[in-house]
């Protein structure tokens, strides 16, 4: 039971990392990035290719792959997404949907749909005795690291000048601009950062989940539900909802296994009924 809860938190760590990236991007650009799952998948494939073809270890891939994907994100934002941001947000949603299809099928063409193996890094192969139960060391590492990353982003957003600018641009872009801050300059790095977070989650997922072209597609829709629960654009809400949904799904799976996949959507329906803007969202979601 406790172990189930722990499983849930580890699963929730992935939801939280992805939801965090989605939320940051949405806050700044008002873009819902459908390709977020594809970038997560590319993160996992990136580390797989690095290890398989070049012998680059997990510890190098962990910072390298997100940085490379972040740069890809920056280029995409500069070339395409920027053109669509002044229009209805739906156009960027459609654009990133097309992008996700392309990325997913390109990888599929190269590697097929079967899962690729990725060994756990040797330092994290054993189990840890957590007092009440023993647990695979790698999972503990994932949970700790994602908590650390989410916490760091939180601190940067709330305690630093950069975070202040980003939050101000998110909430009142015109007013922030009027105060002499170049809001447009921050849009590209924020998008790149969000994409990098997705890639980071992908690298973390490679050793414990099946690395295949479809791994991001289904996950991202669940993450959409998570973000709706937490409140889109609310950074704290998305992260909290990520961990909470992971926990609730794992416990739900323990008691009612047949509900394991649908529970998150039932939660979403309940939240929509009670608070259409999400638990921590602002009212702009509704009319």
């Amino acid at each position: 039971m406790l172990q189930q809860a722990f499983n849930g938190l580890v699963g929730g760590a992935f939801y939280a990392l992805l939801a965090l990236g989605l939320s940051v991007i949405f806050g700044m650009l008002h873009v819902v990035n459908f390709a977020h799952g594809a970038f997560y998948m590319l993160g996992a494939f990136g580390s797989y290719v690095l290890l398989d073809s070049f012998g680059v270890s997990f510890w190098v891939a962990l910072p390298l792959v997100p940085v490379v994907l972040g740069v890809v994100g920056v280029v995409l934002e500069r070339l395409f997404i920027r053109r669509l941001t002044p229009l209805d947000p739906l156009y960027n949603f459609l654009f990133t949907f097309g992008l996700a299809l392309i990325l997913q099928d390109l990888v599929k063409r190269q590697y097929g749909v079967q899962s690729q193996p990725y060994p756990r890094p040797s330092a994290l192969r054993g189990s840890l005795d957590l007092g009440l139960f023993t647990y695979p060391a790698y999972q503990v590492f994932v949970l700790a690291l994602s908590l650390l990353v989410c916490g760091t982003v939180w601190v940067v957003l709330t305690r630093t000048r950069i975070g202040m600018i980003v939050r101000a641009s998110t909430e009142r872009p015109e007013l922030t601009r009027a105060l002499g801050i170049d809001v447009a300059r921050w849009v590209t790095p924020v998008f790149g950062f969000g994409v990098a977070l997705a890639g980071f989650a992908g690298v973390l997922a490679a050793p414990m989940r099946a690395v295949n072209p479809l791994m991001g597609a289904d996950l991202i829709i669940t993450v959409f539900a998570v973000v709706v629960i937490g409140g889109l654009g609310s950074v704290f809400g998305s992260v909290a909802a990520g961990f909470a949904v992971g926990l609730v799904s794992a416990l739900g799976n323990y008691y009612v296994p047949s509900l394991s996949q649908t529970l998150v959507f039932i939660l979403m329906a309940a939240v929509l009924l009670w608070r259409p803007a999400g638990l921590f969202g602002r009212e702009e979601a509704t009319i």
């Binding site: 654009f95 299809l101 329906a269």
Partner: protein
């Protein structure tokens, strides 16, 4: 101009009917059936996207949901296939009530995400409920029963299925032209004013959502009978995406544009499949991205604008801003 308008309408209508009737003479009949089914599906999605301003990214739930129900009725009851198809359409409309009730309160991008999530829920249910849906195998061997007539030839089945599609398209057209449709457009253009005029906009949106779902179900039902099977693919999110893609390609808010988008994409898929190219997402995704970046009015919308510009010869004609999806074209 009025004269040409009067002459233009029946001309287009007749041309459309002739194309629909003659399609299986030019196109491989099962593919022709696919095209008209997707055309109705696209029109149903456009009813929401183009005329109500709601992007549903979850219509696979209604297309695929109806496919299962149609298949189950046809498999187990022995009733003629029209009954099964109508049963599927009714199921989809009923399924749309709770989903729509929860979704229509959200606007724009939130609506898209929530409908997508609900459709994924339907997908997971279909995947898990193996006794009814056959899980990964789907439902196979669905009969084309119609009072003992032999419809196994796709050419003849096309003409048996076509009336349902045409009826659905006619319904969509009537909805758009009705006072109800006008209210939907006013909600799309200015929800605050529509509400101030006393319209309960959530109720209008919900009704539009249910009607659109019912039409999608009709299309999905005919599609299922035509193929003789129902599968998980029908309720998967790529199916929703494909319908939206057809609408955007044909032109948002044009209703008939979706048919052109459907024809293009179904033909493209057929061509790629024949060529042994399985990763169709690379091609369709690239085309879609180009359309979103460069031709946001789609084939039909662009053509209509060009014709209108020629007719008016008015350089000062207001250039429609497309900052809003489904803005009046």
């Amino acid at each position: 101009m009025i004269l040409s308008k009067l002459a233009g309408r029946p001309f287009l209508l007749t041309a459309g009917l002739l194309v629909a009737l003659g399609l299986p003479w030019f196109v491989y009949p099962p593919v022709a059936m696919d095209i008209v089914c997707w055309a109705l599906f696209a029109a149903a999605v456009d009813l929401l996207l183009g005329f109500t301003g709601l992007l549903s990214f979850g219509h696979a739930a209604f297309w695929g949901g109806s496919a299962y129900v149609t298949g189950l009725i046809a498999l187990h009851s022995g009733l003629p296939f029209p009954v099964a198809v109508l049963g599927g359409a009714v199921f989809s409309a009923v399924l749309a009530v709770p989903i729509g009730f929860l979704s229509v309160r959200l606007r724009g991008i939130y609506f898209a995400m929530v409908t997508l999530a609900f459709a994924q829920m339907v997908y997971f249910v279909a995947n898990q409920w193996r006794d009814a849906t056959g899980g990964e195998n789907g439902l196979q061997g669905i009969p084309k029963e119609l009072f003992g007539l032999d419809l196994s030839d796709p050419f003849f089945f096309y003409y048996a299925g076509l009336p349902f599609i045409l009826a659905g398209l006619f319904a969509a057209w009537r909805i758009v032209r009705s006072p109800f449709g006008r209210v939907l457009m006013s909600i799309r253009d200015n929800p605050a004013r529509a509400r101030a005029l006393g319209y309960s906009i959530d109720r209008y949106k919900l009704l539009a959502f249910v009607l659109s779902a019912g039409l999608s179900g009709l299309a999905g039902g005919v599609f299922t009978i035509s193929h003789g099977f129902a599968s998980l693919q029908g309720v998967y999110w790529t199916t929703s995406g494909q319908a939206v893609m057809m609408v955007v390609l044909g032109g948002i808010g044009t209703l008939w544009g979706g048919a052109i988008g459907a024809a293009l994409i179904v033909e493209l898929h057929d061509y790629l499949a024949t060529a042994g190219f399985e990763e169709t997402g690379i091609i369709t995704g690239a085309i879609f991205i180009l359309v979103v970046l460069l031709f946001r009015r789609g084939v039909w919308g662009t053509a209509r604008d060009l014709i209108a510009a020629r007719k008016n010869r008015d350089p000062a004609a207001p250039e429609n801003s497309d900052t809003k999806v489904g803005a009046p074209v």
